[in-house]
């Protein structure tokens, strides 16, 4: 028996998200008296694979082969389901990120497993298997029972504390043979964002709304984000207007993020915006209107003109970094 966790790698490297997933899976494994097997697809060095052991994986399987460079839902699904069968996995854990959303449904069908997507807690009971998931974009949680023998979960990012444990993981390398003609998706072009802190990885996010008035006013906001080592984001109208790139749009229809700190500048706090950021640990609001709904979601607030407040904040952070 085992708990299988799919730990994606990015050019052979893991992220904080991977360690969170393994920590979470280790806690579930303990609840059902078994161990965690972590699975990654693609070329990863031993040293990097070993890291997963430090978060509780007893075994790390690295699958390599031709035609595995890009995510093909069907191929990845068959690999993960195949390994799950071999490892007799009772619970399979994914991240609720792009690739988790792409692969978890297919793996579940192959294993006749029920799925709870966007879970944010450990199971409250293992018999029946009951777990809390996000519904209504975070406006409520649903305690869901999974009735099948095998369970598939996808974990919301930043919802479980990373736990380090001294543990030496066994490493297993598997060469996967993909039959020609099986790969249906043909990747024609890849565009990677480089150099910047990715919004989905950032611990600190500084975000601007329509209250920023014009794309020309973003200087101090960007500077604040850079000084704090964070990423920049924006509300939907701002990206719709083309003031900021679409990748920065957060909210229900944009990116859903959960940084440690989210600073909302000139954002009113519409439910659709909050849907993308309400899982942040701390929310700071800067808004000229003391009745703006964003203050109901925030722990810290400044009622004032962003154009005056932002430069002062930049100054204060500069002072701090000295």
């Amino acid at each position: 028996m085992s708990v299988l966790v799919y730990t994606e790698n990015w050019d052979g490297k893991f992220k904080k998200l991977s360690f969170e997933l393994v920590s979470y899976s280790a806690a579930i494994a303990e609840m059902i008296n078994t161990g965690v097997v972590a699975l990654t697809i693609g070329q990863v060095e031993d040293e990097e694979l070993k890291k997963l052991g430090n978060y509780g994986a007893k075994k790390v399987i690295c699958v390599t082969g031709d035609s595995l460079k890009y995510l093909d839902n069907k191929i990845y699904t068959s690999i993960i389901a195949g390994i799950a069968e071999k490892e007799n996995s009772k619970v399979i854990v994914f991240s609720n990120n792009n690739s988790g959303k792409a692969i978890a449904p297919g793996v579940a069908v192959r294993l006749k497993a029920g799925v709870a997507a966007a879970v944010n807690a450990l199971p409250s009971s293992v018999e029946p298997f009951t777990i809390r998931k996000k519904v209504y974009s975070g406006n409520a949680f649903a305690h869901t029972v999974i009735k099948s023998e095998i369970k598939v979960l996808s974990l919301l990012q930043n919802s479980y504390d990373i736990k380090e444990t001294a543990n030496n993981a066994e490493i297993e390398r598997v060469a996967w043979n993909v039959e020609p003609g099986m790969v249906k998706t043909e990747v024609l072009d890849v565009q990677k964002q480089t150099g910047k802190v990715l919004l989905t990885d950032a611990e600190i996010v500084v975000s601007g709304g329509r209250g920023m008035k014009s794309p020309d006013n973003w200087g101090p906001l960007v500077e604040l984000a850079e000084l704090l080592g964070g990423a920049t984001a924006c509300s939907r109208p701002v990206s719709d207007e083309g003031w900021r790139p679409h990748e920065e749009h957060t909210g229900q229809t944009g990116k859903i993020i959960a940084p440690n700190l989210y600073i909302a500048v000139g954002i009113s706090g519409a439910t659709q915006h909050l849907a993308g950021i309400s899982s942040s640990k701390y929310i700071v609001a800067i808004n000229i209107d003391k009745d703006a709904p964003i203050f109901e979601a925030a722990q810290y607030g400044i009622v004032g003109d962003a154009m005056k407040v932002l430069p002062k904040l930049v100054e204060a952070v500069r002072e701090l970094k000295k």
């Binding site: 890009y70 839902n73 699904t77 792009n98 690739s99 959303k101 792409a102 449904p105 297919g106 579940a108 069908v109 799925v115 997507a117 809390r132 998931k133 519904v135 209504y136 974009s137 975070g138 406006n139 409520a140 649903a142 305690h143 869901t144 029972v145 999974i146 009735k147 996808s154 998706t185 990747v187 024609l188 890849v190 565009q191 990715l198 989905t200 990885d201 600190i204 719709d240 679409h246 749009h249 229900q252 229809t253 700190l261 659709q272 849907a275 309400s278 640990k281 701390y282 700071v284 722990q299 810290y300 607030g301 009622v303 003109d305 005056k308 002062k312 904040l313 204060a316 952070v317 701090l320």
Partner: protein, 249 residues
């Protein structure tokens, strides 16, 4: 090329969610039901493709699993411009159940491109599209932010962590769509509303499938502590609090 757009029926996204007294259900009194925002966008994109003769799209059908109470939502999709609709007459129990119903319909009626949204804004499942594809044994692509048809070949852009990939694949396939697929949802014209009344909704009875999950209780997130206000003249105080109280910088 025929496109099937799967639509779910969800509370308007500004709804303040209230629970029933026992916490076992959502209090639906006064809720305005709408087409799931992503499905509205994928329907818009399907219709844009149909409007473009070069794309060669001949039919756009919407599919919904739900009881007759969701017919107004289907009619709205028809008013926006879908040619016809399919409804599987069953309470949508979970994603596995819904996907099984749509897959059963697709065994009888052939479509080339099946569009699903990245999630229903109520259940936040992110599952239905991927499950349909697996049931049918056809490929799927998720996080799709652009769909074109060039010389009869689908060209898709999908979002990955920190970038995008452009890819192609043969039909039939399922595309799970997200932001970007269309700019603004198309709205129904007066004429659309009139003609929607005459468009056909084919009703199928459900196939026997047991859902694999069940919601036993709802909970509201714990309310956040009241906001602490800092003077706009002294933002340094905010930085101090973030460093020493919240310990996040």
């Amino acid at each position: 090329m025929k496109i099937l757009v799967c639509i779910s029926n969800v509370p308007d996204t500004t709804t303040k969610i209230k629970l029933s007294a026992d916490g076992k259900t959502i209090d639906t009194a006064g809720i305005q039901w709408v087409i799931n925002p992503w499905d509205e966008l994928s329907l818009t994109r399907a219709l844009e493709l149909k409007d473009d003769p070069a794309a060669g799209v001949t039919l756009v059908t919407v599919a919904h699993v739900g009881t007759s109470s969701s017919e107004p939502t289907i009619r709205k999709a028809l008013a926006i411009g879908a040619d016809d609709a399919i409804r599987v007459n069953a309470e949508p129990a979970d994603a596995y159940f819904v996907a099984a119903q749509i897959a059963a319909v697709l065994e009888k009626e052939k479509y080339d491109i099946i569009l699903c949204g990245i999630e229903s804004s109520d259940y936040n499942g992110s599952l239905t599209g991927g499950i349909i594809a697996e049931f049918l044994g056809i490929p799927s692509v998720s996080s799709v932010s652009s769909l074109r048809i060039e010389n009869g070949k689908p060209v898709i852009v999908r979002e990955i962590d920190g970038g995008k990939e452009t890819l192609t694949l043969p039909v039939p396939f399922v595309a799970v769509v997200q932001k970007g697929i269309a700019k603004e949802p198309r709205i129904a014209s007066m004429r659309g509303i009139m003609t929607a009344r005459t468009k056909q909704i084919r009703v199928y009875e459900p196939v026997a499938v047991n859902p694999l999950t069940e919601i036993v209780m709802y909970e509201k997130p714990a309310p956040r502590a009241a906001c602490k206000f800092i003077s706009p003249d002294n933002p340094a105080e905010l930085i101090h609090l973030l460093q020493n109280e919240a310990k996040v910088i």
